[in-house]
Structures are given as structure tokens and as C-alpha cells.
């Protein structure tokens, strides 16, 4: 009960900070904040696959890019207002996610991941090469926004509302029996199957939900950047939500959001002072992987546990029977 209480206090504080932030920030900082808000939704949508269902997809950025292109293409080719185009973003991404998910889920685990790599790159190449539709490498820029979204502050609040809606929907979904079933699949895929759960069907549902909200985040990006470009779909962009989630923590709903704040601020700070962001990011990731694999959320839990009563040194959210195949021979030696 206490955990639930601190969590809702945390969300309340986060909401308050997010609402009041524009009072203190300049325009450049507002754009950093917008990118954080978008990354938070993108990473949370990915965590439906990664943290909740245990699927590693290299294609997630493709659906993010599809979301962004849904808005810009509807504007270029159909003359739609971006606001109307935004409604297309999760629908297009989710629909393509469903179809490609059907194909990718023919395989499991590693081979699923590699299949998503191929599918994602295929979608990337469509955006990259189909110049007639997407203008290829040039991307689409300079999208006309509705007048009320011109000032940075208004655009920020607009994106914040979209993010809040997405997070609320995903939070409800992940707390529902559906979310519990996904977690059961993550913990033990075979056992979930024995219980009569139609594993593939749930995995496809999770994949579709995750990709739809990746499209939602991509639609937000189109407002942020007033455009879209092929690199949004590239597999290297799929690394962003993975890194974000890893930094924040895989095993909680708040993890990706916290990760987005930390990564966004880190990136802004480093790139303004230092030419080499990748080496910093790589080092931070390596440190987290080696010393704090549960990310900031679990690190904070551990810190709180160590500071308070030293009762049990367990990791309640990482059950012992979490699948650990392969390379088991070295376990005793390490």
C-alpha cells in the first residue's frame, strides 16, 4: 500500500513540475522538455513489449517513424490539418504493426528479434527510397501548424496533454488482467502456455498496442519537428527507447518515463559541452548494465531499503525463475 502511495505522490509531483516548468524555462529548454515528453511516450510504448512481455524488437522505431509520416504525409498529399493527421498516426502504426507482427511472431525470442530487424529495415527503406511518396532522404519539413500551436509554450502543453493521455491508457492496460497476462508470459512463456493462455495471441496484442503508441509518439514528434525524415524509422533509432528504459528501469511503469528525463537532460548537457555524446552514453549504459541492471527505479528501491530497515536483500520484482538459459556453465564461476 505504501508503495502505491509513494508512486502516486511521485506522479503528482512529476505532473506539477511538468505543468509549472514553462514559467522558468527559456525557449531552447522548452524544446528539450518537449523531446523528453515525446521520448517518455515512445519508451513507455516500447516497454509494453520489452518490460511487460519480454519481447526485444529492433523495429519499434519503424512504427514511431510511421506515426510521424502519417501526420506529414496526410498534410502533404491530402491537405489534412496536422490535428486531423494525428488521429491517423496510432491507427496507421498499429495496423502496420499488427500485420508485420503476424509475420515476426512466426519466430520466437532471438529469431523474433532478428526478424523484426529485417522488417524494420524494410519499412525504413520504403521511407528512404520511395521518393514519390515520402521525398526520400530529404524528408518532409516545414509543416504548417495550427496558429495556436506556434508558440513553444502552447506546443509544449499540447504535447504534454497527448503524453498524459497515452500514459494513462497504457497504465490502465498494463494494470488490467491483460497486463498481468503479459507479465506471466514474460516470466515463463512455456508455463503461461500450459495454463491455457494463447501466448502468441497475447504477444500479437502487446505488439500491436506497443506499435500503435509508438505511432502516437511519432505523431507527437511531427508536431515537435514540423516534419519527418527516414532516419526516424532506422533500427538505430529503436535503440533510443531501449536505452531510455534500461536507464530508468525495465520492471516498472515509471522506469521509461524517469529514463526519458535523465537521458534527455544528459543529452542536452553533454552535447552542449562536448563533441562526443556516444562515448558518454555508452559508458553510462555499461555502468548501469554492470552495476545497476534494474535501472534507476530499482537502484532507488535498493538505496531506500539499505537506508531504512535492512530486512531482506531480495529483488521482489525479479523472480528467481526468470528464464536464464545458455552460458549457464559460467554461472558458478563468476
Amino acid at each position: 500500500m505504501r508503495g502505491r502511495l509513494t508512486a502516486s505522490t511521485g506522479w503528482a509531483i512529476a505532473a506539477l513540475v511538468a505543468l509549472l516548468a514553462p514559467l522558468l524555462l527559456n525557449e531552447r529548454q522548452m524544446f528539450v522538455l518537449m523531446s523528453i515528453v515525446i521520448l517518455a511516450v515512445f519508451a513507455t510504448s516500447y516497454n509494453v513489449l520489452l518490460g511487460y512481455t519480454g519481447m526485444v524488437s529492433f523495429a519499434h522505431a519503424a512504427y514511431y517513424g510511421i506515426g510521424a509520416y502519417a501526420v506529414t504525409l496526410a498534410w502533404v498529399h491530402l491537405g489534412w490539418s496536422p490535428l486531423a493527421g494525428f488521429l491517423l498516426a496510432p491507427v496507421a502504426a498499429g495496423a502496420i504493426g499488427y500485420v508485420t507482427g503476424l509475420v515476426a511472431l512466426r519466430a520466437t525470442r532471438l529469431y523474433f528479434s532478428l526478424l523484426t530487424l529485417a522488417i524494420g529495415q524494410l519499412l525504413f527503406l520504403v521511407a528512404f527510397q520511395w521518393r514519390g511518396l515520402t521525398r526520400g532522404d530529404d524528408g518532409i519539413f516545414g509543416m504548417q501548424l495550427p496558429l495556436f500551436l506556434e508558440p513553444a509554450t502552447n506546443r509544449y502543453y499540447f504535447l504534454l496533454v497527448l503524453a498524459a493521455i497515452a500514459l494513462a491508457i497504457l497504465s490502465v492496460a498494463m494494470r488490467s488482467p491483460f497486463g498481468a497476462t503479459l507479465r506471466a508470459i514474460r516470466e515463463n512463456r512455456d508455463r503461461a502456455g500450459f495454463l491455457g493462455i494463447k501466448v502468441k495471441r497475447y504477444e500479437l496484442a502487446a505488439f500491436t498496442l506497443g506499435t500503435a503508441f509508438a505511432g502516437w509518439a511519432g505523431g507527437m514528434y511531427a508536431f515537435f519537428d514540423r516534419g519527418s525524415f527516414p532516419l526516424l524509422l532506422d533500427w538505430t533509432t529503436s535503440a533510443d527507447p531501449i536505452f531510455t528504459t534500461l536507464i530508468g528501469g525495465l520492471n516498472s511503469f515509471a522506469g521509461p518515463v524517469i529514463g526519458a528525463v535523465v537521458l534527455g537532460l544528459l543529452q542536452d548537457f553533454v552535447t552542449r559541452n562536448f563533441l562526443y555524446f556516444n562515448v558518454v552514453l555508452g559508458t553510462v549504459l555499461l555502468a548501469i548494465i554492470l552495476f545497476m541492471p534494474g535501472g534507476i527505479v530499482e537502484g532507488a528501491h535498493r538505496l531506500a531499503a539499505a537506508g531504512g530497515s535492512r530486512r531482506r536483500r531480495t529483488h521482489p520484482e525479479q523472480p528467481a525463475d526468470r528464464e536464464q538459459p545458455a552460458a549457464a556453465g559460467t554461472r558458478s564461476k563468476s
Binding site: 512466426r106 532478428l114 530487424l117 549504459l285 548494465i289 541492471p293 552460458a327 564461476k333
Partner: protein
């Protein structure tokens, strides 16, 4: 299109396939024995190419390229060994995702270190005169360097096969492919074996980088390009299978070269379509063995 031009395109494809085979066999070896999907594998290839430029520059002339060919794979193998001992070793027995992400972290770190040392400017590596130009068979001219690459791939493929099938190290590696836990129980030092395998895989990628040097522009980003192609190769062939890697490399190399000739804008897309088709038809690749991974 004339027959000569077609032959030339196939030759281009096969010489790309030769490099892909050498690089991807390392990726496949590491996956087979250690179950690690090494995203940093392309970084070893890139480091190999860049360090070759430096070494060839120091030595100069014909000796330069030959010297790079001999020295660079060892340097890159040492780098691989260092990464395995320093970081990956601590992650065995943990979730695969963490190992994969650790190699991703190294991809980021290595790319910036290379950028720091060599800058953004593209580099080039020159093949010795003996290997430049073309040799004539009948009416068709074959680029000599392409023939050299193919010969190199065959030699390395045979050496790897001999290593795996005829030596004690090869026996241990094959045992690790089927059951690492058991291997530890019968008294093999699995931890040292993994270091050797990872270094060997890195060395192969480094060698691929040196060999590809004279035929490509050496620049930042080549790590990402090769890793995606190498994944396509090992997925089509089947992870952990040497024969599969060879077949996959030829398929990807030639498909891409012919694709470039006939439908340039869709060449890479065709490779991915082949990859998806193979995986849907045979989820473990053409020569792969179904396994829990």
C-alpha cells in the same frame, strides 16, 4: 546488358560475399559458442580498417598492406579479448538482453573513439600493385583484387573448418555450442574458452576490415552498415553454422550486386525481403539448428 558486364557484377557480388563471409563467420562463431548477439561486431570491422590505414602508413609501400594484414587482426583480437574480460564476462548467466545491450554500449563507445582519433574524413587503403588491375580469362577481365578476396575467403573458411573439426580448441568450441554447462563440468575452463572465442571472432571482423579496405571507402558508419549485412547473412544461413554463413554470404552479396544493377533503389530492400522470406519459411535459417536462445 552484355555477358561481360553481368560477369563483372557477379564478381563484385562474390568479392563482397567474401568479406561478408569472413566478418559474419566471426559473428556466427561468437553466437554459436557464447549465445551472445554481438552488435559491436561491426565496430571490430571498422577498427580493423582504420588501424590498417595507420599500420600501412607506417610501413609504407607493398610491405604496408601485407603488414596490416598480419598485424591488424591480432590488434583487433586483443581489443575483443579485453572487452570480453573487462565487461561481458560479468554478464554470463544474466539475461541475454543485458549482454546484447553491453555490446551496443561498446558500439557507441568505439564509434566515438574512432571519430576522436581519425576524425570525420574518409580514409583509403591501397592494395599492392600485384593485386591491382585485372586478369584476362578468354574475353573477360577479372579484377585481381576480387579474385584475391575470394581466395582469402576460401582459405579462411577451410582454416576455420580445420580448427573446428581437427583441434582441441575446436572440439571445445563445438561442445560449447551444444552445452556449455556440461563443458564446464568435464573440467574445461569455459571462461578462458569464451575469451579465446570472442577474441577470434573480433580478429575475423578485423581481418575483414583490412581486406575490405582497398575496395571500400573507410569512414565512420561502416560499422553500422556491415553489422546489418552480417546479421542478414547469418540469419539467412543459420546462426552458428559455418556452411550456412558461406551460403548466406554468397546469397546476400550476389543478390545485392545484381539488385544494384537492375533495380538500384530496391537493392538493399530485396536483401531484407529474402531475409524475411527465409525466416518465415525456416525460422532458424537455411542451415541452423533449432535451439533455445
Amino acid at each position: 546488358m552484355t555477358v561481360e558486364a553481368l560477369v563483372l557484377q557477379v564478381m563484385t557480388g562474390l568479392s563482397r560475399a567474401a568479406v561478408l563471409f569472413i566478418v559474419a563467420s566471426g559473428l556466427s562463431l561468437v553466437f554459436g559458442a557464447m549465445r551472445i548477439v554481438n552488435i559491436a561486431h561491426g565496430s571490430f570491422y571498422m577498427v580493423g580498417a582504420f588501424v590498417a590505414v595507420t599500420v600501412a602508413g607506417w610501413l609504407g609501400g607493398v610491405i604496408g598492406f601485407v603488414g596490416a594484414l598480419l598485424v591488424v587482426p591480432l590488434v583487433v583480437a586483443a581489443l575483443g579479448g579485453l572487452i570480453e574480460v573487462g565487461a561481458l564476462r560479468r554478464l554470463y548467466g544474466k539475461e541475454h538482453l543485458l549482454q546484447l545491450l553491453a555490446t551496443f554500449a561498446f558500439l557507441l563507445i568505439v564509434s566515438d573513439v574512432v571519430r576522436f582519433i581519425y576524425g570525420e574524413r574518409p580514409q583509403s587503403l591501397r592494395a599492392p600493385p600485384l593485386l591491382s588491375g585485372a586478369t584476362r580469362f578468354g574475353d573477360v577481365f577479372f579484377p585481381r583484387y576480387s579474385l584475391f578476396l575470394m581466395a582469402a575467403a576460401v582459405v579462411i573458411g577451410l582454416s576455420l573448418w580445420l580448427l573446428l573439426s581437427r583441434t582441441g580448441l575446436g572440439r571445445d568450441i563445438r561442445a560449447a555450442v551444444s552445452d556449455p554447462e556440461m563443458l564446464g563440468m568435464v573440467g574445461v575452463n569455459v571462461s578462458r574458452l569464451f575469451t579465446v572465442v570472442f577474441a577470434l571472432g573480433a580478429g575475423l571482423a578485423g581481418l575483414g576490415g583490412v581486406l575490405a579496405g582497398p575496395q571500400t571507402t573507410i569512414l565512420l558508419g561502416m560499422d553500422i552498415d556491415i553489422i546489418v549485412e552480417s546479421f542478414a547473412v547469418v540469419i539467412i544461413g543459420g546462426l552458428g553454422s559455418l556452411v550456412g554463413t558461406a551460403v548466406g554470404a554468397v546469397l546476400v552479396g550476389v543478390t545485392f550486386a545484381l539488385g544494384i544493377t537492375f533495380i538500384p533503389s530496391a537493392a538493399l530492400a530485396i536483401v531484407f525481403v529474402v531475409m524475411v522470406a527465409v525466416l518465415v519459411w525456416r525460422p532458424y535459417g537455411l542451415f541452423g539448428i533449432p535451439q533455445e536462445a
